[in-house]
Symmetry: C2
Subunit: 325 residues, 2 copies
């Protein structure tokens, strides 16, 4: 019997391939994004009487030599990225909208990078609609789209590549604070450098759509309550989904990459408009989730984007689970 050993692996017919396993090769391929089209991801589960379906939009690997975390050194971040098996000097981020079937309604939370991004990224992202189709969800049947905040990776999927509405029969519900901020270009003076360019994209995406603003602390869809989690953007919003005596929290960018910001909650992302407020929100939110053992769904968590948050040293960690409910 041939047993596991490096020697017999190298002696076997896969020898050449195994012998040439090389993280640098993998990294280069990741960075090009050339081998990831099309990506499909679907994961369904239940919470009480509510069905939740994660629909994967994809993952991108960005060259981020020193720009992603604004208050940590290049050396510190490089060490953190390496610990996560990401390509040297680069950062891989996932994107996963959530579809919820509750009380006869189909509700989407955020929309992905959009079908235009799919072509531009060679299929690495912009696959949420493709994943929805795999889950037998017809975009025309979506009743409500809830938006967490107005960054492009969350709102661009509201439109098809040709500019037509992607969810033509859905009510589009947006945080009132977010709407007020981004639709008034005079607020550009309150936006940091990485957010100043976002006003134009917001205008373009919402042109021809009729979004309805909602307040924090309200039931915005059956069993779904909004919660203000500001800092990343002024109106950044999370959601609590509740059914049958159980709850889970859905967070957009309370943390972006969980492997980066959970162990280092004091690190500020370049896309945080107010890094200090984002950090305060992050600590409160994760303290609550860990104390209450509240499952958390994260837009940028590795697919299928759900887990439990635990305190760990001076930070937090995400524990993936086999079944949420």
């Amino acid at each position: 019997m041939v047993e596991v050993s490096r020697r017999n692996m190298i002696a076997g017919t896969a020898a050449a391939a195994v012998a040439t396993v090389n993280p640098a090769t993998i990294s280069a391929s990741r960075a090009q994004g050339a081998v990831v089209a099309p990506m499909t991801g679907v994961y369904s589960y239940k919470l009480g009487d509510v069905e939740l379906i994660q629909v994967y939009d994809g993952s991108r690997t960005f060259p981020m030599p020193d720009g992603f975390v604004v208050n940590a050194s290049k050396e510190e971040t490089a060490k953190a990225y390496q610990a996560l098996h990401m390509p040297p000097g680069q950062l891989t981020i996932s994107f996963s909208p959530l579809v919820i079937k509750s009380a006869g309604k189909i509700i989407a939370i955020d929309t992905g990078n959009g079908l235009g991004a799919n072509a531009a990224s060679k299929g690495a992202v912009g696959n949420a609609r493709h994943s929805m189709t795999a889950a037998s969800i017809d975009p025309k049947a979506v009743d409500i789209v809830l938006i967490s905040h107005f960054h492009g990776d969350h709102i661009n999927g509201l439109k098809n590549a040709d500019g037509t509405p992607a969810y033509p029969n859905a009510q589009i519900l947006v945080p009132a604070t977010e709407w007020a901020f981004w639709t008034d270009e005079s607020n550009a003076s309150k936006a940091n450098a990485s957010n100043k360019g976002n006003f134009a994209n917001v205008k373009k995406v919402f042109d021809g759509l009729k979004p309805t603003p909602f307040e924090a602390g309200k039931e915005v869809a059956p069993g779904i309550t909004s919660m203000a989690t500001p800092g990343h953007t002024p109106g950044h919003t999370s959601f609590i989904v509740a059914s049958g005596g159980k709850s889970l929290a859905v967070q957009g960018d309370v943390t972006n990459h969980p492997g980066v910001f959970m162990p280092n909650p004091g690190w500020h992302a370049v896309f945080d408009n107010d890094g200090a407020l984002a950090e305060q929100t992050r600590r409160k939110f994760f303290d609550m989730a860990s104390a209450d053992k509240l499952p958390v769904v994260g837009y940028h968590f590795p697919f299928p984007s759900a887990g439990y948050v635990e305190k760990n040293g001076n930070g937090y960690r995400l524990v993936q689970v086999h079944a949420l409910t």
Copy 2:
């Protein structure tokens, strides 16, 4: 602006639900398996020119008061299970067959608990075929089914609920050592208590099928090489998938639950026919995977069932990644 705080969550409209979040309630629901039908899981990615599609069969939560790990105390295992956010005294295990598209062939590795199990488990498991359909994979188009070993959760999906072949046009390739062992009932004397009953199921599942035995260390499908990883069962086999200078390892039960046996590689599962050999294989396999930074797909890993293995103290840990390639 309402900001995140426990007070405003309780003051909000989801107050009743949030206030009653109770791990015990979640646990009871998990244990009943009543809320998990139907489960769908699909996750596609690429390795070189090969496409890999994880197809989720589901997760089950078993009452395992003290029987799952045979050489650790009830207190030790209870502590380990609790750290994984599983219901008190219970263990949740996932099942994920892998479909590979390589050189024009469609290859499945293992088959899930089967459609009969879907009904019996109220949809908690037996969903691999449903997930394949979501991934637009027609069972009739599957060319090769590779089997890691002959336990029911890996082979029962070879048949439909009515006993007809689930992959009618596929070559069914099985480890030669596994075939020799389980098809000779005189070997029952070499099987431990939890494996003695498996001979009858093997006979039933393979009745009417014409499996072809393969040896370890051979290319069994385009770019896929078999590797003997014995102990869990005598012919337990893993696979190395290689394409474009990159490789990954596919392991059935080198570890069962990664959260249990990776930190505690010396623990033996009740289903290990030879616990000591299984442990030796596990340590060799994970030493190799961690040294070579070889991505590992695990049949019982939490969906989507892939990650990197790292040495951690006296054991190992699984690091989930955002994108494998």
